[in-house]
């Protein structure tokens, strides 16, 4: 008899910072965040694929997506359904607002306690912050071991999971007990495409909030089907200490934001004189272009 597992995939909806094109620029040369498309964080896609591969190998395995964000982040759960996930939860509450990585980890860990999975898989980092902190911080809050920068889940047997990790300059194969938190590196296989059958089945999946906002209520009869309901959890659903959520649970504060101003491309001509070079280097240092 093969065992089946319960897997939570942590995924984040992020602005697509990789494609900051000219139309995403405001007149003053700074980024217009509202104009950036919201996407499924790329490494979280790699994480989803690893979870689905475990499901392929161990039929009966349940893959659930967990995402925290505003209402529109329900897109993440739908995208997961389309690619083969079995369910998902949207963590959404005004009390989560202003969370840094630590407060985010607290909320995620409280939701994970409620779900009780065997394996938690997340992308290594999200492209809007590139911190790679949430995975390890969640693991610590749960008291679980962690395996970061996973490239391949090689084997699960006898209650142990064996994972290949991609380090800066090399690889490492480690074996861990479960439950465990795994973060997946971009060099892991890309996620499979959407599945047409899943897409048909789940295209009307939505949260209650989305259903209530739907003026036409055209799909109301469909929404009575349980599998189309995406649960929304707030602080009241996951419990915990309110001061650990959102802004008050965030030790880091942003003191200052400097926008990098993108100038119209017009090259400044300099000579090789010591004065010109001095001016250039000072400018590069003050703009943090070089350390």
């Amino acid at each position: 008899m093969t065992k089946a597992f319960k897997i939570v995939v942590l995924a984040k909806q992020v602005p697509d910072t990789r494609n900051v094109g000219k139309n995403a620029m405001k007149e003053d040369g700074t980024v217009n965040r509202a104009a950036l498309p919201a996407i499924f964080n790329p490494e979280d896609m790699n994480a989803l694929e690893q979870a689905l591969r475990i499901k392929d190998k161990f039929p009966g395995t349940e893959v659930l997506l967990l995402t925290m964000g505003p209402g529109r982040a329900a897109d993440i759960i739908r995208e997961g359904f389309f690619r083969g996930a079995d369910g998902g939860v949207l963590l959404t509450d005004r009390k989560f607002a202003g969370a840094d990585t630590l407060a985010t980890s607290y909320a995620l860990s409280m939701a994970i306690r409620k779900i009780q999975p065997d394996i938690i898989i997340a992308g290594r980092q999200a492209i809007d912050g590139d911190t790679a902190q949430v995975g390890p911080q969640v693991a610590e809050k749960l008291g679980y071991p962690q395996i970061t920068y996973a490239e391949d889940i090689i084997d699960i047997s006898k209650g142990k999971i064996t994972v290949k990790r991609r380090l800066e300059r090399g690889i490492e194969v480690v074996k861990s007990s479960m439950p465990v938190v795994i973060t997946v590196h971009a060099t892991a296989p890309a996620c499979r495409p959407r599945n047409a059958k899943q897409l048909m089945k789940y295209k009307h999946a939505r949260t209650l909030t989305e259903e209530q906002d739907n003026e036409h209520n055209s799909y109301l009869p469909l929404y009575t089907m349980d599998y189309l309901k995406i649960p929304e959890w707030g602080v009241n659903d996951i419990g915990g200490d309110e001061k650990n959520y959102g802004l008050s649970g965030s030790p880091t504060k942003v003191k200052k934001i400097e926008n990098i101003v993108f100038q119209a491309k017009e090259s400044k001509k300099l000579t090789s004189s010591a004065e010109d070079i001095e001016m250039l280097m000072q400018e590069l240092i003050s703009s943090h272009t070089i350390g």
């Binding site: 910072t17 790679a132 003191k255 090259s267």
Partner: protein
């Protein structure tokens, strides 16, 4: 108490560059704050490395040795670090933004509920006034880093929680030993006090660490040379500048074909595509085959004898002159102006 602690990494029995860079930075922060600089060294039989830490200014070395700690492992390393920080209450803790440092630091910050900023490009000491609470904080660590895909520079502070934690990538800070090492004391950590056998449940089955490879793709600063550099010897100047700025050396196809540089450094259509923060094109004319591999760079500086070289059209700054004059001046000016 309330000092600065740097987490030290080793590789093949040697101290990692990033740790020495952090000690150099930590030393200047400590002198601004009037506190001491300390180091945490974990490993198997690593005590011989202690004097070198003192030569970078660490006056107290916390030393944890155990044969099971020869390679980095999340659970025992974090147990030792968390327990030490609880006892010593450092005001600042610095980690390399390495595979190990980025695995360890968030775990520690989560246990201590303290703030952590990843991949800082600059660390400074400053004050902060919280207008709402009517409170002013002195001597905070400004953790400065790019965010949002490099489109903004954020200054992060942790007003109320200690330690203030930050990770920094290798090559971002300068590395400078002292002329005379400081006097130091060693605190031998009893490993079994904080680490239990269950912390070794995750075991390393296999480990293959490759030699340092050329990685121009991941470098924030690239100094690329073209045929106009003239010779393999002249490329040494580019390497020198790259070393000083914490960058890598790239090359155009013409320079690679002429044998001036390794194929692994080739940028362009038939090489790799890069998008660094700063791209300095030296003696590169700027054919489309080359620019296709670098035109997404955030800033381009060209150094070329020819004022009408096409590269100057996409360059933010076009320096017309001889590289043998320009590059030494850049190095001198950087050394003078960088903190």
């Amino acid at each position: 108490m309330n000092n600065i602690i740097v987490f030290i990494e080793t590789e093949n029995g040697k101290l990692c560059d990033v740790s020495l860079e952090l000690l150099t930075k930590g030393r200047s922060l400590a002198s601004q704050l009037g506190c001491a600089l300390e180091a945490l060294l974990i490993g198997d039989n690593v005590k011989d490395l202690v004097p070198e830490l003192a030569s970078y200014g660490a006056s107290k070395i916390h030393l944890a040795q155990d044969k099971r700690l020869v390679n980095y492992l999340t659970l025992p390393f974090s147990a030792i670090t968390i327990s030490l920080f609880r006892k010593e209450q450092p005001q600042i803790a610095l980690f390399g933004a390495t595979s190990a440092g980025r695995d360890l630091a968030p775990r520690v910050s989560s246990a201590l509920s303290s703030g952590l900023t990843a991949d800082c490009t600059s660390l400074e000491i400053g004050s902060h006034t919280d207008a709402k609470a009517g409170k002013t904080y002195e001597n905070l660590l400004y953790q400065i880093r790019p965010a949002f895909g490099g489109n903004i520079i954020a200054t992060i502070i942790n007003p109320d929680c200690r330690p203030q934690m930050a990770t920094v990538r290798e090559g971002v800070m300068k590395r400078e030993p002292l002329a005379t090492p400081v006097k130091y004391s060693v605190n031998n950590i009893e490993v079994s006090e904080s680490v239990s056998d269950t912390d070794f449940l995750v075991e390393i089955i296999e480990r293959q660490i490759e030699e340092r490879k050329i990685d121009i793709k991941g470098s924030p600063v690239i100094i690329a040379g073209g045929f106009g550099v003239g010779s393999k010897e002249n490329f040494n100047l580019l390497f020198e500048l790259a070393h000083v700025l914490g960058g890598e050396v790239g090359a155009s196809r013409a320079a690679v074909d002429a044998g001036f540089a390794d194929h692994a450094r080739q940028i362009g259509q038939t090489g790799v595509t890069v998008r660094p923060k700063l791209y300095i094109a030296v003696g590169i004319s700027g054919q489309i085959q080359h620019t296709a591999g670098m035109d997404q760079s955030a800033m381009v500086i060209s150094i070329n004898n020819d004022p009408s070289a096409p590269i100057n059209q996409i360059a933010d700054y076009a320096i017309v002159g001889d590289l043998n004059e320009v590059i030494p001046r850049m190095i001198k000016s950087y050394k003078k102006n960088s903190k």
